[in-house]
């Protein structure tokens, strides 16, 4: 074994066993998970977007899949799966904008799988998942312009975000529409959500 990595290996093996144990246990036992208001509000947001015939905009974070924040990006993609199924169920329109090139094909696959899982693969459009730019603030500017066009009814951001999130959420003040706003933030994954 490589020197100095014994403790690391032990911790990895121990945490892995604990994770496997609880994954196995979860099939038999229902664990209490507290309600996360943001997740519950997603269905409401998608419903409103369907009524207004506008778009649900989603951002699964701005970092990629090959760095220390990949776990956060994956959590964003999991929520994207849920949002896509909800959007497909309601028959609303979805727009996913991506900043990292590696996330683009994965996000397309996640959305496609979600539509396919409820039998609405014909409604899926590859153009609903778009890469905008790799530059952090150019991406934020592009998202702001999408939000300010007036075609987006709900903006959901789940994943790894940095300073550009301040820029994106500030766009709410200049958008027309419902002024309700709900914001829940927990590091290391940020979770924003608001109506426009």
């Amino acid at each position: 074994m490589k020197p100095g990595l014994a403790v690391d290996l032990f911790v990895l093996v121990a945490v892995s066993f604990i994770t496997i144990y609880f994954i196995a246990k979860s099939h038999d036992k229902k664990y209490y998970l507290r309600n996360i208001a943001g997740l519950e509000a997603i269905e409401e947001a998608v419903g409103r977007a369907t009524e207004m015939d506008k778009i649900v905009h989603f951002i699964p974070g701005i970092t990629g899949l090959n760095n220390s924040r990949s776990a956060v990006t994956f959590s964003g993609l999991e929520v994207l799966n849920y949002v896509s199924r909800t959007v497909a169920n309601y028959g609303a329109k979805l727009l996913v904008t991506i900043r990292n090139v590696m996330v683009l094909p994965v996000a397309q696959e996640v959305v496609r799988n979600a539509y396919s899982s409820i039998g609405k693969i014909n409604s899926f459009d590859y153009n609903s998942v778009q890469f905008l730019t790799d530059n952090q603030f150019a991406y934020a500017t592009a998202v702001r312009s999408i939000l300010q066009e007036g075609q987006v009814a709900a903006n959901i951001m789940v994943g790894s975000f940095f300073a550009e999130s301040l820029m994106i959420t500030e766009s709410r003040t200049s958008c027309r529409g419902d002024s309700d706003r709900w914001n829940y933030q927990r590091n290391p994954a940020s979770f924003f959500y608001y109506y426009l």
Partner: protein, 208 residues
């Protein structure tokens, strides 16, 4: 073999190979892992090319269908083509490309970034209010750290700098450590879920 299980199998084999190579000095695993790492670089470049093609398609479609403000898409394509051409013809170290970078990219980037300072000032003004005990502690700490980080604070009293250093080294470090560790544990749990096939959203044809 089922196509879905094939993708899952590839994921498991590559993950375990990289893991073993990270902890053990076995030449065969090191060689395979080094090659896999290089492949990831190539895949990243291919993903970049795919993303650019997708982006160009989107903008060309906007121009051809004359969607609202289609001229911005035209502007994007013209600028993109121009800068790419300059970089390819004169190389990224040549004078023309450096002119574009120094006189267009850098001023634009720093301008957009500097707007954050304005938004942070308004956010600080709105957020730091004495609404509860927690917000009062946040307010007092924020003011002390702000004073301790600037020359004015040092001019008023050296105490601010000392308190700022204490706040940074003890409670802030403790909180950052907690976040780092929890992030690491989450990454391990995610890796296990991918290895066990519980996370399948990224595999084609998989649905939950």
């Amino acid at each position: 073999m089922n196509r879905n299980n094939l993708f899952l199998g590839i994921t498991v084999i590559i993950t375990l190979t990289t893991l073993v190579a990270g902890f053990f000095d076995l030449s065969i695993f090191n060689t395979i892992s080094a090659n896999l790492v290089n492949w990831s670089v190539v895949i990243g470049l291919v993903a970049l090319a795919t993303a650019i093609i997708s982006l160009m398609r989107m903008h060309v479609k906007r121009i051809m269908t004359r969607r609202r403000e289609w001229f911005y898409s035209l502007y994007f394509i013209v600028v993109f083509t121009a800068v790419c051409s300059i970089g390819l013809i004169y190389s990224s170290r040549g004078q023309p490309f450096m002119y574009v970078v120094n006189n267009i990219l850098v001023p634009l980037s720093t301008t957009i970034y500097s707007l954050l300072g304005l938004w942070m000032a308004t956010a600080a003004y709105r957020a730091f209010r004495v609404r509860s005990i927690d917000s009062t502690i946040l307010l007092v700490t924020g003011i002390i750290v702000l004073l301790g980080s600037t020359s004015f604070g040092a001019a008023i009293s050296p105490v601010f700098a000392r308190i700022t250093i204490f706040i940074r080294l003890i409670p802030t470090t403790a909180a950052s450590r907690g976040i780092l560790i929890s992030g690491g544990l989450g990454a391990i749990a995610l890796g296990i879920r991918i290895l066990l096939g519980v996370e399948r959203g990224h595999i084609p044809g998989q649905s939950k």
